[in-house]
Symmetry: D2
Subunit: 365 residues, 4 copies
Amino acid sequence: MAQMMKAAIFVEPGRIEIAEKPIPDVGPNDALIKITTTTICGTDVHILKGEYPVEKGLTVGHEPVGTIVKLGSAVKGYQEGQRVIAGAICPDFNSYAAQDGAPSQDGSYLVASGRCGCHGYKLTAGWRFGNLIDGTQAEYVLVPDAAGNLAPVPDGLTDEQVLMCPDIMSTGFVGAENANIKIGDTVVVIAQGPIGLCATAGAKLRGATTIIAVDGNDERLAVAKKLGADVTLNFRNVDVVDEVLKITGGKGADSAIEALGLQSTFEQAMRCIKPGGTLSSLGVYSSDLKIPLGPFGAGLGDHKINTALCPGGKERLRRLMNVIESGRVDLKPLVTHERKLDDIVEAYDLFANQRDGVLKIAIKP
Amino acid sequence: MAQMMKAAIFVEPGRIEIAEKPIPDVGPNDALIKITTTTICGTDVHILKGEYPVEKGLTVGHEPVGTIVKLGSAVKGYQEGQRVIAGAICPDFNSYAAQDGAPSQDGSYLVASGRCGCHGYKLTAGWRFGNLIDGTQAEYVLVPDAAGNLAPVPDGLTDEQVLMCPDIMSTGFVGAENANIKIGDTVVVIAQGPIGLCATAGAKLRGATTIIAVDGNDERLAVAKKLGADVTLNFRNVDVVDEVLKITGGKGADSAIEALGLQSTFEQAMRCIKPGGTLSSLGVYSSDLKIPLGPFGAGLGDHKINTALCPGGKERLRRLMNVIESGRVDLKPLVTHERKLDDIVEAYDLFANQRDGVLKIAIKP
Amino acid sequence: MAQMMKAAIFVEPGRIEIAEKPIPDVGPNDALIKITTTTICGTDVHILKGEYPVEKGLTVGHEPVGTIVKLGSAVKGYQEGQRVIAGAICPDFNSYAAQDGAPSQDGSYLVASGRCGCHGYKLTAGWRFGNLIDGTQAEYVLVPDAAGNLAPVPDGLTDEQVLMCPDIMSTGFVGAENANIKIGDTVVVIAQGPIGLCATAGAKLRGATTIIAVDGNDERLAVAKKLGADVTLNFRNVDVVDEVLKITGGKGADSAIEALGLQSTFEQAMRCIKPGGTLSSLGVYSSDLKIPLGPFGAGLGDHKINTALCPGGKERLRRLMNVIESGRVDLKPLVTHERKLDDIVEAYDLFANQRDGVLKIAIKP
Amino acid sequence: MAQMMKAAIFVEPGRIEIAEKPIPDVGPNDALIKITTTTICGTDVHILKGEYPVEKGLTVGHEPVGTIVKLGSAVKGYQEGQRVIAGAICPDFNSYAAQDGAPSQDGSYLVASGRCGCHGYKLTAGWRFGNLIDGTQAEYVLVPDAAGNLAPVPDGLTDEQVLMCPDIMSTGFVGAENANIKIGDTVVVIAQGPIGLCATAGAKLRGATTIIAVDGNDERLAVAKKLGADVTLNFRNVDVVDEVLKITGGKGADSAIEALGLQSTFEQAMRCIKPGGTLSSLGVYSSDLKIPLGPFGAGLGDHKINTALCPGGKERLRRLMNVIESGRVDLKPLVTHERKLDDIVEAYDLFANQRDGVLKIAIKP
């Protein structure tokens, strides 16, 4: 008989609860990981609220830190007992999408054929944990395509140090990578939640020398300063676009990274950038987006708008952990709280309501 | 006393007329060109209708073919009498914008500082002829920053063969260049007016092997076939998005080039592309643009949206004329009519109303 | 007891012979292919001569066209009986190298640690067939990492039409892709053997409009003309560098593709390119290469030198077959001869000595 | 009668001396700059020794910091009295080369037509000061194409703070920019003279997190640590290639920047990089370069070799000064000495013999 484990499952809108589930079987290309630390993401809150639909009974969560318990017969190059992480997005690197430069997007293809105005477009993409398959807020998780997705944690790094790598750091950094940053650039990063903070750190790593961090929360702006912001703007106190134009001598920023997902922040990003500039969007939007005609130069502005889903894979994760290990970026300030898996209902409540200065919560099974 | 010349000037909305104007003086970095052939652009029709504001009395037109009459004292490397073209956009290559990779956008900077919801954003950019300075529908035109903008016409090419280079071909081609085309790509080109036809030709030159040309006019689709389209879709007869998904096995096109400037065509382009794909926009839009949530993957689709203004400069034009000279692309089918400068009022009428199968009209001073 | 098959094996320097071998077992990520057509490559001739060392008894050949006979238990998305090809290079797409943008180079890493002046550097890279594992000049071949490497052949394409895809076309095209070609470029392609001919076709597909093909064999130059060369130079009759400088007005070509692998051709390529230009090398060199100081601008020429190993993977192959299917490029003229597998010894002799106008030989088990 | 000024001129091999020369006249696109600080470069030492030929009587030096004294009639956007710098390389941004992406290389074209084995290749490129026209080791210098090349110094930056921008910093940084650095890369920087030190700082700015600085001088390695090196290797004590392979687990570095210009350092760089890696060369070589076969993977290693000449232009310099102003990089440790222009003979002696821990000398007219 299958052994059982605890897992946080989606029961119905408004209810995520701890339940007992069988520990999954391991196929030839899988790996079974014992979770030592995981966390809650904004997307999980959308799932909790029923705003993003998943199957009832699915284990939620997509940010694993843990230990290999069992390896599939065809998975080479790892040992049981090894400490690993895997990405929020576990691409199938054999897929056409991956070989074509978009590993996160495998599986979107079939879905795309049903896209239309009436019934929408399901955002599966390469995101599997806590979306298409059981996730990481559990004692164990099964990692598919393990040979491409298990990333060994270097000795000397704690769970908390690498907890942002699977999603938050990878997403924030791709925002910076997609912003076409050159040395000496002025970059505006709009919203300084965990992902925006990582985008700020990423913009610094790419050579931006005037990083303008925008938020309405002074505590978050203070963290942004530590992570690389040269200027912070609290949108409650100043007109962000005016300030950016002032700082750049009327020229506009070289790029803006939009890390929230609202019409207003997208539009603000568009208004901040120069002709020829880049808008790098990390937002998950919930309705049609409007591009304002004037700042868009009526389509003649040589603008670039880039969007991204969190990149995954063991090489990506290896690099992110290398950034941590090198000391270039310290993301520990983002892990503000710790809770037991058994207390996850309360942890969701704390996180969803942004109480107590919470940024991210380490969840311990 | 200054010598006089004939020029087509903007009088008031609805009226462009031939008038007498002084032949301009030549500064140290200018060149005076005697126009042998020019043409009318869709933008000129917007000016005529008063939809795009220019100063009263300005000479319109921005597509010059002609002969050097006089060179500024600091302009080296040319001879008077030489046949040349210049771009619709004549960048100042010494500008910060040009050195920063966006030569067409110099001069937008100052304007940008006044951008806001209320009074819009003036689309000057590097476009000067027939916008900020006197244009080409005249006997003579003064080319600013001549050392960077005069492109000698190779012997053996007629005026008609190079007439598309200053604007139509350069714009259509940048649409293809911005589409991130790889060998073997499927590219949808939406609208087959002169610019869309050039985008089709450009997509072929970059290695797309399934080029899907879309229009509502079967004659234009027939020209598209000649210029490189593998498949043509008349949107009056088929659902374009359905066809594209059918052709690509449900995956979506690698990129789409939007060459019209409507909400509906922009949206269609977005619906045609794959996750990870590129929307290359050439449209000049006249109102805020809506990005439909579903096809946009709610912002998680790894999509790229690129816009462009026609690239200019003598090196760009040299390359475009090389394409013509090599025989790779034959754009003569685009020049369907010829009129004298004196008959330009009638020519505007013919062109604006798309009568008689007109694509472009050669105007002869 | 294992069933047996015929295979061309390396016996000793100077001897490749047909032998009986067991048909291999199929692991969970493998696929067994019944070869319908394969061919001989220049590298195979190096193996035959003992210039490139492989294990005795290894089946040679790396260019498979065939039918799926058996699929590994974990290989999804294919059917037995399906016609497929696989690349000369079958990358492990789960490897760090693949995720890091160099799928062909997985496996080179460990070898690299032993590199030194004395004992050299074994060129394994991702090339497995006929190098590290049994190859394709046999009745059957086992494809590793099948989910990423099997590419279904579109209906209507013959074996001969796709026979160049696994190696020759993929290699020639990457030469063009690595040459940083822009529309209107002048590109010199040095040597018009099968790979050079494909580089010529590839340069045309990327938008070069002055393609200068160089060889010493007028028949090959005539094929080059058909595949896209605008100018052909027989190096026996003219000074190639002088001609290129003449054609480009003293400026030099935008790029040169070196498709032979000699010091002299590499150097010629270097001498042909402009300051700021690219040398795209496809050669397999057999001794240290010398970069001539003057043409290299003493290191100040803003030059780029790019090398490549044949790209593999099902998406690459899908695109190459799409190029064939679209009719853009017809490589049938490259398959000049046909032989039975049983006659492979004679086929090697014919091919190695370039008799009878041979370009490539279709080998039929 | 022309006013006179002091200038350091090349008299004959072994002799650079202070002489009187007329202050130059100002053409329409020129600007006359009163030098407040300049410096001596390694190239100047080559000129002094007669290893790099220039005309007798030419004023040497190419790194100007000063004040605008007189502007040409066509130079807009500056005021006399303004503090400015100009690049070591002052491109003509109207040239074909500049519009084609290689501004530093204008003027190389004509020279290229004479290139051959016997009489070499004159390295003029876009380098004019102290090479083709009078240079900066003087009281005044005439800046050609001033509208593209004069970069105003931000208030609050001293001469010493911006003295590295015209050449050393721009060159070192382009070495990093050409190394295709991604976040998390391992980069080896070979030689930690002034340019190598800037390459180290540049690699950090681009996101490398394991920067390995190599030199034989421990003092320079200590400066490298301050500028971003994670690991320093003194080649007198360790085998550099072995160490790099050890640090990278046998894989090799993602890229290496060669900042010296010897066969041995070039080769070491080649041996350090992974298959698929980049060798970014900043060296000025003095004889044919040899690429070692093994580390080059016989041409099959997917390697990239990029060379560069110092980028110039006002936008480039604006960005570099922005880096300084932001505090990201502090290059004051590179200016170790100060001398009067009158004492330049002694300054050359000090610099050429690397006495007294000299890195760069501020020269004050």
